[in-house]
Amino acid sequence: MSADSLPVIRAMQLADSGFPSGVFAFSWGLESALADGQVDRHSLCDWVATELRTRWHGFDRVALAGGHRLSGAALAAWCETIDTMMPVERLRRDSVQAGEALFASARAVRIALDPGATEAERAGTGHFPVVHGDFLRACGLDLPTALMTSAYGMARGAFSAAVRLGVSGAIATQRDLLTLAPLLAELSADIPDDDALPSGFMPLSDIALMRPRDGRLFIN
């Protein structure tokens, strides 16, 4: 085994759907958007690409980079900043819930997170993308690999939700993931500057995840 292969093996493990982190139960608006006809099996790949270009690239990527780079009080303050920059209450709450699942996973797998992250957990501001950045750093991934892992995880999670909702098949979603691979590589290669702040404009999915719906299967 070469020295380069260990981080790749770690990244594969951490991006795999078998890694328990709670993300399977979140659809980030996709469930409602499908139910409302805003997206269907034919436009599913476009929906995921748009989420990657907007929610992931504009917001999660920058939040994760801070979680990866910062420690101690600066990391806890970064969690507060991320909290402040999420005006959608539902999104804020769900992001913290997803973060709590990742904290639980880290404790169970015995991965020591930064004290700044655990301080944020106690304060209720342990948002998923930031905690994910710290978590991937603690697992030994460098920032570029952590960003690839995160981007891939978001796309895989959306397609997995679509499969469980019966909208798409496991084979069709693998074709879609192959199609999106160049986009995943392009977006995750964009390393945020140290002073970058997250931004986002995702009205369709933000409204979709806020809409109350009877018979909801996913957390959002």
């Binding site: 078998g18 328990p20 982190s21 709670g22 399977f24 139960a25 979140f26 659809s27 819930q97 709590e100 699942a101 990742l102 904290f103 639980a104 996973s105 404790r107 169970a108 939700a161 469980r164 909702l165 009877d214 018979g215 909801r216 299967l217 996913f218 957390i219």
Partner: protein
């Protein structure tokens, strides 16, 4: 000391929520400090039912959505439930017991040993007396098998003593308890089993 975590699984409609409602009365009388996490397949109906039942303060009943996958949330990826249980323990120091109700699934569902210390599987006679013979992992591996709605046996053509004997046989003598949760029958025995095997209290 952390609270014991006990899973309650079984098919939809077998009486999992009814069992919890009945158990809560017995647990309260025994002075066992309890909280509940439900894994509703859809929204949080079971959690609301338990909150409205008044056996526990509403803040001691948490709902975790199963993401269209009741298997996954208790077995392959139990982290959402682990997080909810961790949060309950932090908010209610001294908690003795956390009951985790599955969203209702088929006979193949099991609880992750990462999540629970003990789990029971609830079936009911109206589902047919052939269920024990089908030997799903839920029937075989659960620490305790509960056969609910025993009073319905004559109405659905089930020979209940035979069903009970077959269930005990396929489980190799593992614990099997009959209940009629709506009437509270057999529930004291279930709670007694938990106190003896899990709570030591």
């Amino acid at each position: 000391m952390t609270a014991a975590r006990v899973g309650i699984g079984g098919p939809v409609g077998s009486g999992k929520t009814a069992l919890i409602e009945a158990m809560l009365r017995e647990l309260a009388e025994a002075g066992i400090d309890t909280a509940v996490i439900t894994n509703d397949l859809v929204t949080d109906e079971d959690a609301e039912r338990l909150r409205k039942g008044g056996q526990l303060p509403p803040e001691r009943v948490r709902a975790v959505q199963a993401g269209a996958c009741p298997h996954t949330v208790i077995r392959e990826d139990p982290t959402l439930n682990m997080a909810a249980a961790d949060r309950l323990e932090a908010e209610f120091p001294g908690l003795d017991l956390i009951l985790l109700e599955s969203g209702g699934d088929n006979l193949a569902s099991t609880f992750s040993p990462d999540l629970v210390d003990f789990w029971m599987f609830v079936i009911d006679v109206a589902g047919g007396d052939d269920i024990p013979r089908k030997k799903g992992p839920g029937i075989l591996q659960a620490n305790l098998l509960v056969i609910n709605k025993a009073d319905l046996a004559p109405h659905v053509g089930v020979d209940f003593p035979k069903m009970l004997a077959e269930a005990t046989e396929v489980r190799g003598g593992g614990a099997v308890l009959p209940t009629v949760c709506r009437k509270g029958e057999g529930v004291a025995e279930v709670v007694g089993h938990l106190r003896r095997e899990v709570l030591f209290k």
